[in-house]
């Protein structure tokens, strides 16, 4: 019997951006081109196999933080759009970010190197 989950297919786009003052990653999630929400986390890979993990904000409300933030949360901007914005200095050393998303019972993963 066909598994209903096979009709779901999450596409993850990760756009990292480093500025002088903060580090930002915008994450877009789409299911067959339609904006979709999922349980996501993001791991920054630092030198010497160190990692920093960001998790979703607890309330999952639509919210947006200005660059002053030093929190370790992934903020939901709108359906299918998430943002990490941090001044945490360690993150500036990261070379790679891995985004994990749990969507309709399946885990999806996307790597992005940092420019």
């Amino acid at each position: 019997m066909a598994n209903a989950n096979m009709f779901f297919m999450l596409e993850i786009q990760v756009i990292p951006q480093i500025t002088k003052k903060f580090f930002r990653v915008v994450i877009f999630l789409k299911d067959h081109g339609i904006d979709a929400d999922a349980d996501i986390s993001a791991t920054f890979i630092l030198p010497h196999n160190k990692e920093i993990i960001f998790l979703p904000t607890p309330d999952k409300k639509i919210n947006y933080v200005y660059p002053e933030s030093t929190s370790r949360f992934i903020h939901r901007i709108e359906r299918g759009i998430y943002m990490i914005q941090s001044k945490n200095k360690a993150i500036f050393l990261a070379k790679k970010i891995i985004v994990n998303a749990k969507y309709e019972g399946k885990v999806y993963k996307k790597d992005a190197s940092i420019q």
Partner: protein, 439 residues
């Protein structure tokens, strides 16, 4: 005597491709970025479509009316604001249409107003009257109107009629004597109506403000073909009778030019309506047509309107505020990014990057990110070339991120450039040359 002041906004944004269709990876030059993010084909196609349905027939109709009444004591007059982005597109793709607007400018029965060149929200950036980007864009528009239409504008309208005391003061500071705003009830307490001229509070500015009569304007621009409206069908004689009932000094009918033929299709009878309107109006001896500058010259200000910076008004949506462009997190994010990245782009000194940054400032890009879901949501959806607000946002984020990256490359290469090396340095740095070649 009462004066009818017709004003039309003419604007087409330079649209981006949908977010999912933009792939900016590896792009290091302004030219490649422009080709990648903007949808040149679609922009030309839309301009051609709207020109055929609206701009040509409407402008020819109005030119015909100007000609018909030019020998009369009471002439037919119109006023326009053509955005710089729109004029750029005309110069490039439809110079014949530009010639029609030149004929209106020559007729002396048409007034052309200034606005921000890129139809942007730059009037929000800065403090007090120190708004350099806004001033620069207005100056660019001034020069453009002068060189293309041979016309020195005396009146001003801000993008989407965005207005507050400080914007008014800045506009006055730039030498304008009159500007346009929305005649919304919350700024018209007591006896006040949009049928009179006002100024900001006396200690702020003396600029004359003409307020849009939104009921009578929307009767044409929104409700003309609405069969649910008790006034349907709206005929020229019926509308002229409404206008004649005006108790005040000015009837400011401000609308999108695309009302004619695009928002209200030709088969609704909109062109016949406008063709017969002047004759019907002029049957009433106490009404004439005038342009904004003429209205401001003819009538004194009858009171003040006080619009605080945090209560800015506009002509958009039911709220008539800035929420159509800055109402949600996506929009506020993009707007703050535009401001931040602007400093880096300016520092790069690259005119092409600065132009792309300004094209991205066009208010329509923010409008497409709007997430209002009620009555106005349909309007936003109608205008948006994207499937969802998120898709529009995605395109903007990708474009802005790469713009910042290229601007930083430019700054970096300039700092390594042999052309600006320290005095006394013997040989140019090889890596500097490489970066310059790569752009």
């Amino acid at each position: 005597m009462s004066s009818i002041c017709f004003y039309f906004q003419v604007h087409q944004p330079w649209r981006l491709k949908p977010g999912h269709a933009i792939n900016t990876s590896g792009i290091k030059t302004a030219q490649r970025l422009e080709e990648t993010i903007f949808d040149s084909g679609k922009n030309q196609e839309i301009l051609k479509k709207v020109a055929t349905k609206c701009y040509y027939p409407a402008t020819k109709t109005l030119l015909g009316l100007i000609d018909e009444f030019k020998g009369e004591k009471r002439k037919f007059k119109v006023s326009y604001s053509l955005s710089g982005v729109f004029l750029d597109a005309l110069e490039k793709f439809d110079p014949n249409l530009l010639d029609l607007f030149k004929q209106i400018a020559k007729s002396k029965c048409g007034e052309f107003l200034n606005e921000t060149y890129y139809h942007s929200l730059s009037s929000f950036w800065g403090t007090g009257t120190d708004r350099p980007e806004f001033r620069e864009q207005v100056k660019m528009h001034q020069e453009c109107i002068k060189s293309l239409l041979g016309y020195k504008a005396k009146a001003f309208r801000n993008t989407e009629l965005l207005y507050n005391n400080l914007i008014a003061k800045t506009v006055e500071d730039m030498g304008y004597k009159v500007m346009l705003a929305e005649g919304i009830e919350r700024v018209l307490e007591g006896w006040k109506s949009p049928e009179y001229i006002y100024t900001p509070p006396e200690n702020i500015s003396k600029i004359k403000v003409l307020l849009r009569n939104y009921r009578l304007s929307d009767d044409v621009s929104y409700r003309f073909s609405a069969r649910w409206s008790s006034a349907w069908p709206l005929t020229a004689d019926k509308y002229a009778a409404w206008l004649s009932a005006c108790q005040g000094e000015t009837l400011n009918l401000f609308m999108d030019y695309e009302t004619f033929g695009e928002h209200q299709w030709e088969d609704t009878g909109i062109f016949n309506f406008i063709r017969h309107l002047p004759r019907e109006v002029l049957k009433y001896p106490h009404i004439d047509f005038a342009t904004p500058s003429e209205v401001a010259q003819r009538y004194p200000a009858r009171g003040t309107i006080d619009v605080h910076e945090y209560a800015t008004i506009s002509w958009a949506d039911l709220e008539r505020d800035a929420s159509a462009w800055l109402g949600n997190s996506m929009q506020r994010f993009v707007f703050s990014e535009l401001e931040r990245i602007g400093k880096i782009v300016r520092q790069s000194g690259d005119p092409e990057l600065i132009r792309i940054w300004r094209l991205l400032q066009t208010s329509d890009h923010l409008y497409y990110c709007c997430t209002k879901y009620w009555a106005d949501g349909d309007v936003h959806k109608y205008f948006s070339p994207y499937g969802t607000p998120q898709n529009a946002f995605e395109g903007l984020v990708k474009s802005l991120t790469q713009l910042e990256y290229i601007a930083k490359l430019k700054i970096k290469s300039a700092s390594k450039s042999p052309l600006i090396r320290e005095p006394g340095l013997a040989a140019p740095a090889i890596e500097g040359i490489g970066d310059l070649i790569n752009g």
